[in-house]
């Protein structure tokens, strides 16, 4: 009961979010709040950001949630796991800064992350 009113405990009720910006191929910005622990792909799908298909639902099996990560963010992301680079071989126009957004898990460190969406996913 005490915890409901005491500000020290208030953080228990706050869901931690990070702001993620998606830049579409037509140069439109979509900035959305994504809950920590979700993937960047899930953030896009839940907020109806166009251009992220995510056909396999996050199984790293389809390469249709492909994004280009803004250069200043690319090195801050956790390294790719085995298999992500293999899937990127099949992505549409992969580049040096390509990632699969289903493999980027949102945390406080990623607040402000900017990614661009390719012209097509397949």
């Amino acid at each position: 009961m005490f915890s409901h009113t005491c500000p020290i405990f208030l953080h228990n009720y706050i869901i931690l979010m990070a702001k993620i910006t998606f830049i579409t191929h037509e140069n439109k910005n979509h900035t959305v709040d994504v809950q920590n622990g979700l993937s960047v792909m899930e953030g896009a799908v839940q907020n109806d950001v166009p251009g992220i298909d995510a056909d396999c639902g996050g199984g790293m099996a389809c390469a249709t949630c492909h994004v280009y990560v803004k250069d200043e963010w690319f090195d801050k992301l956790p390294a790719k796991e085995d298999g992500e680079e293999d899937m990127l071989d099949m992505a549409f126009e992969p580049k040096k800064n390509s990632r699969l957004s289903c493999q980027i898990i949102v945390s406080d460190d990623l607040d402000g992350l900017e990614v661009s969406i390719p012209s097509k996913q397949s």
Binding site: C56, G57, C62, T64, E85, D86, D89, M90, S122
Partner: protein, 339 residues
């Protein structure tokens, strides 16, 4: 014209189990699939990956799951039409007339779409002009390798298909192998062979390059390839091959007058029927409040859709619910001895 009580589109786990349910309640069915093998995504995308959430099966691979489902429908003689993509679904009276890309025709009161995320198609080159040469001098699969004899062939890709064909075609053709990075994901033995052949000058290897443009009139004459530092090379070539795996496309399903939202089809949760009477959608391709894209959900959806099919296939009969443990009729259908 093939006449059947229900036609299932898609031979993945959901399609296979739906067929089982239909046969169990005494209806006929046939299955159509665009792939050349049974199993859908389980076989095409993750045959070796373990699955942990099939009820009562603590762990199995996509391939094992498929094989078990095939075994489960063995007692029933179900026709499975592979390499057939359904292109058209049209109403004629009380029946749906279904046509495939190879002109196979079906007449049925019930169509069950168990199509996953659509049909698998080869992934294509991002360069738009490639379309012009497709199936003439640019291919995504090989039907007749003889046409490449004595010619220059540029192969793109880093998986087994690209590597295997590079090795094979290097015997009688001049081969360029182009891949976007240094690592190949194909089998190590084949990678070693490719590197050997590259050393001997039998394969020209271009890593960290991708296609940037393609030139020619009727036939391809040359391609430009570019690396991350924007360095471009021009390669003369007679043929271009791209091996980038398969992608799922919703394809013709979009034209059948169904309510489609984000590549999924809206259904009710009683019959898993779409907005068109007698067309159902089950498995990953269907959508309703609370939908989970799990194989187990597909099984449930298929079981209910099968019961709904009964009404349209046998309008004068009443469906009676029975358990497999006790029903004599079901045991007869399964070909097992009652006790």
């Amino acid at each position: 014209m093939n006449k059947t009580d229900a036609l299932i589109i898609g031979a993945g786990p959901t399609g296979l189990f739906t067929a089982h349910q239909l046969k169990l309640i005494g209806l006929n069915c046939e299955i159509v699939d665009n792939l050349d093998k049974i199993g859908g995504q389980c076989i095409e995308l993750y045959p070796d990956k373990p699955i942990y959430d099939i009820p009562a099966v603590p762990e199995c691979t996509g391939e094992e799951l498929t094989n078990n489902l095939i075994n489960q429908i063995k007692p029933f003689d179900i026709k499975i039409h592979l390499n057939e993509r359904v292109d058209e679904v049209k109403k004629e009276g009380d029946y749906w007339i279904v046509k495939t890309n190879n002109d196979k025709k079906f007449s049925t009161p019930n169509v069950i779409i168990a199509g996953g995320v659509g049909s698998f198609e080869p992934r294509k080159f991002p360069v738009k002009e490639c379309e012009k040469f497709e199936n003439k001098s640019l291919f995504y699969s090989i039907r007749d390798k003889k046409i490449f004899e004595g010619k220059t062939v540029s192969i793109f890709g880093g998986g087994d298909s690209a590597l295997d064909w590079a090795v094979e075609l290097s015997k009688n053709s001049k081969v360029n192998l182009i891949h976007r990075r240094d690592d190949f994901r194909g089998a190590q033995a084949t990678v070693d062979t490719v590197n050997e052949l590259a050393k001997e000058g039998k394969i020209n290897l271009y890593t960290k390059y991708q296609m940037s443009s393609i030139e020619g009139d009727d036939q391809v004459k040359s391609i430009d390839i570019k690396n991350d530092n924007n360095e471009t090379k021009n390669l003369k070539t007679d043929y271009v091959l791209g091996f980038f795996g398969l992608i799922m496309q919703l394809g013709p399903i979009a034209n059948w007058g169904l309510n489609i939202d984000k590549k999924t089809i809206e259904v009710d949760t009683e019959k898993f029927e779409t907005n068109q009477k007698g067309i159902y959608a089950v498995g990953d391709i269907c959508n309703y409040p609370g939908k989970l894209k799990l194989i187990l959900s597909g099984f449930h959806e298929g079981a209910l859709a099968a019961r709904a099919c009964f009404k349209l296939a046998r309008p004068d009969e009443k469906y009676r619910f029975e358990f497999t443990t006790s029903s004599k009729t079901i045991k007869e259908r399964l070909g097992v001895k009652g006790d």
